[in-house]
C-alpha cells in the first residue's frame, strides 16, 4: 500500500516530463521572441539583455516545473477515483495551482532584493559616454517620421535626472519659502517628480496601447525621463535668475526642444493622423504644462507678486488696529499731534 503512491508518482513524473520539457521549450522560445521584438530597435547592448532575461526566464521555468512536479504528487491519487469528472476537476485545480504558484513566485521575487537587482541590472548597463550623448540627444528633435526612431531602453539616466529634479525642486521650494501643511518638502518634491515620471509615462503608454503605437513601457519611461533634462536645466537657471522673460524664452526653447524630440519619436512610431494628434498632443501638453507648473508653484517672484496683489486690500485693515490703541490711549497726544500737524 505504501509503495503504490510512490509508484504512481514516479510514473506520473515520467509522463509529465516530456510535457514539461515541451512546455518549457515553447515558453522559452516565446520569451525569446518577445524580447527580440522589444529590443529589435535598441541601441544598448541588446545581446546582453536578451541573455540575461532568457537566463532569468529559464530559471523561473525550472522552478515552476519543479514545483508543479512536487504538487502533482498530492493530487494524483484522488483524481483516479473520480474518473472523468475528477479529471476535469484536476485540470482546474492544476490551473489554479499554476496561478497560485505564479503569484507566490511574483511575491517572493518582490521581496528578494538580490533577485530584483539581477532583473534590473540590464537596464543600468550604460557607459558615461552613452549617458552624455543621450542627454544631448534629448534636446535634438529628429525629423524622421517614416521609420521608427530608436529609443534606448535604459533607466540609469532617467532615474538620475528625476533625482536631480527632486534636488532642484527642493532648492526652489526653500528659496520661495513654500509652506506645506501636511507633509515635508522632501516628500512633496519626490512625490511630484516620481509621480510625473511614472504617472505620465504609464498614461502615455496606455494611450499608445489604445492607438496601437509601437512603444514599450520601458522605452516610454526612458524617453520621458530623458525629456526631463530640459526641465532640470530650465528650472535650475530660473530658480536662481529671476527674470520672467528669461523663463519664457527658456521654456519655449529648451522645454520645447525636449518636447519636440519626444513628439518626433512618438510620431515615427504611430500610424494615422488622429492617433498621432491624440498621443503627441497629450504628451506635449502635459510636458510643457508640467514645467510651467513647477516654475510658478515654487518660485519666489510669484509669492512676491501675490503679496503685492493682496497688499492694497490688506494694508488699511492692518494699519487701523495698530493705530487705534495709540489713538485711544492718549487723546491729548492726538490733539497735540493735530496741533503740530496744523502748524
Amino acid at each position: 500500500l505504501r509503495v503504490e503512491p510512490k509508484m504512481s508518482a514516479g510514473s506520473r513524473n515520467t509522463n509529465t516530463e516530456p510535457w514539461g520539457g515541451f512546455e518549457d521549450n515553447i515558453v522559452q522560445a516565446g520569451g525569446a521572441a518577445v524580447i527580440d521584438m522589444e529590443n529589435m530597435d535598441d541601441t544598448s547592448g541588446s545581446s546582453f539583455e536578451d541573455m540575461g532575461e532568457i537566463h532569468q526566464r529559464m530559471k523561473e521555468e525550472e522552478e515552476v516545473a519543479a514545483e508543479a512536479a512536487a504538487t502533482e504528487d498530492d493530487g494524483a491519487e484522488d483524481g483516479e477515483f473520480l474518473g472523468m469528472k475528477g479529471l476535469k476537476g484536476q485540470l482546474g485545480r492544476q490551473v489554479a495551482d499554476e496561478v497560485w504558484q505564479a503569484g507566490k513566485r511574483q511575491a517572493s521575487k518582490a521581496f528578494n532584493l538580490y533577485a530584483n537587482i539581477d532583473i534590473l541590472r540590464p537596464y543600468f548597463d550604460v557607459e558615461p559616454v552613452q549617458v552624455r550623448s543621450r542627454l544631448i540627444e534629448s534636446m535634438i528633435p529628429v525629423r524622421m517620421i517614416n521609420f521608427p526612431q530608436k529609443v534606448a531602453g535604459e533607466l540609469y539616466g532617467p532615474l538620475m535626472l528625476v533625482f536631480t529634479l527632486v534636488a532642484i525642486l527642493l532648492h526652489g521650494m526653500k528659496t520661495s519659502g513654500t509652506v506645506i501643511r501636511e507633509g515635508t518638502l522632501m516628500g512633496t518634491a519626490i512625490g511630484t517628480c516620481f509621480g510625473y515620471w511614472l504617472g505620465v509615462s504609464s498614461f502615455i503608454y496606455f494611450l499608445a496601447y489604445l492607438v496601437n503605437a509601437q512603444i514599450t513601457m520601458l522605452q516610454m519611461m526612458s524617453l520621458l525621463g530623458y525629456g526631463l533634462f530640459g526641465h532640470c536645466v530650465v528650472l535650475l537657471v530660473t530658480y536662481n535668475i529671476h527674470f520672467h522673460f528669461l523663463f519664457y524664452i527658456l521654456w519655449l526653447l529648451l522645454g520645447g526642444l525636449s518636447t519636440l524630440r519626444m513628439v518626433a519619436v512618438l510620431l515615427s512610431r504611430t500610424v494615422g493622423q488622429t492617433p498621432r494628434l491624440l498621443l503627441c498632443g497629450t504628451l506635449a501638453l502635459l510636458h510643457m504644462l508640467f514645467l510651467l507648473y513647477l516654475h510658478f508653484t515654487y518660485h519666489k517672484i510669484v509669492e512676491g507678486l501675490l503679496d503685492t496683489l493682496e497688499g492694497p486690500n490688506m494694508a488699511p485693515i492692518q494699519r487701523v488696529p495698530r493705530d487705534v490703541p495709540e489713538v485711544i490711549l492718549n487723546a491729548t497726544a492726538r490733539s497735540l499731534g493735530a496741533m503740530l500737524r496744523s502748524h
Binding site: R121, F124, P128, A167, L170, T184, L185
Partner: protein, 230 residues
C-alpha cells in the same frame, strides 16, 4: 552446550583481537588535549568583561574610522569591518543640530529631524542600490557604512555653522558658512569616492560618483540654508 558457546565466543574474541591489533603496524599518535584553546577562548570571550570596556572598544573603533574619513588614504579598514554605529551617531547629531531653526518655529517647513534622517538613510540606500545595479562588487552594508561615515565633514561644518550663526547672521557670516560648507562637501565627496571607486568597474566611476555628489550636495545645501531663530 554452554561450554561450547563459551568456547565459540572466546574464539571469536581471539579472532577479533587478531584483527584489531596487528603487530607489524604499530599504533602511533599523539593524543593531547590542546591547552591553548581555553586561553584563546578567554581572549575572544567578551561575556565577563565590564560593560564600560565593551563600549569603549566600540567607540574606539568608531573613532578610528572617523580618522580614516578625515584622512582618506584608500585604506580598506572602513570597508573590511563595517559598522552602522558611526553613521547613526553622525546622522542623529546632524539631525539634532538642524532641529530648531528659524523655520521650525512658524512651521515653515524647516528641516525636521525625521526629514534629515530619512534623506540620509534613503539617500545612501539609493546610492548603494545604484552602485550595485551598475555592477559594483561591494556589499550593501559596506557601502552604507562608507556613505554614513563620510557625512562627518558635513556634521563638522554644521557645528561650525551654528557657532558662526551665534555671532550673528550677515554677509560675512554667510560667506564664512559658504566656504566651510563647500569645503566639507568637497571633502565628503572626495572621501567617499576614494573608498567606493575601487569597487566599481573603471569605466563607470562617473556614473557612481554622480548620485554621491548629488546626495552630499543636498545635505550641504540644507546645512547652508539653515538659520537659527531670532
Amino acid at each position: 552446550m554452554a561450554a561450547a558457546a563459551a568456547e565459540e565466543a572466546s574464539r571469536q574474541l581471539a579472532g577479533l583481537s587478531d584483527v584489531s591489533i596487528s603487530e607489524d603496524i604499530p599504533v602511533e599518535g599523539d593524543i593531547s588535549v590542546p591547552v591553548g584553546s581555553s586561553k584563546a577562548d578567554d581572549e575572544f570571550s567578551t561575556l565577563d568583561e565590564p560593560v564600560k570596556e565593551t563600549i569603549l572598544r566600540d567607540l574606539r573603533a568608531v573613532g578610528k574610522k572617523f580618522i580614516h574619513v578625515l584622512y582618506p588614504k584608500r585604506s580598506s579598514a572602513l570597508l573590511r569591518d563595517w559598522d552602522l554605529w558611526g553613521p547613526l551617531l553622525l546622522c542623529v547629531t546632524l539631525a539634532l543640530l538642524l532641529q530648531g531653526g528659524a523655520a521650525d518655529s512658524d512651521d515653515q517647513g524647516g528641516p525636521q529631524f525625521a526629514e534629515v534622517f530619512v534623506i540620509i538613510w534613503f539617500g545612501s540606500i539609493i546610492i548603494t542600490l545604484n552602485s550595485k545595479l551598475l555592477g559594483g562588487n561591494i556589499s550593501f552594508f559596506q557601502s552604507l557604512c562608507v556613505l554614513g561615515y563620510c557625512i562627518l565633514p558635513l556634521t563638522v561644518a554644521m557645528v561650525v555653522c551654528r557657532i558662526v550663526l551665534m555671532g550673528g547672521s550677515g554677509t560675512v557670516s554667510f560667506a564664512v558658512r559658504l566656504v566651510v560648507v563647500t569645503a566639507s562637501f568637497g571633502w565628503s565627496t572626495f572621501a567617499s569616492t576614494a573608498f567606493l571607486a575601487d569597487s566599481q568597474p573603471p569605466n563607470r566611476k562617473a556614473l557612481v560618483v554622480y548620485p554621491v555628489f548629488l546626495f552630499y550636495f543636498v545635505i550641504g545645501w540644507i546645512i547652508l540654508t539653515f538659520s537659527t531663530s531670532k
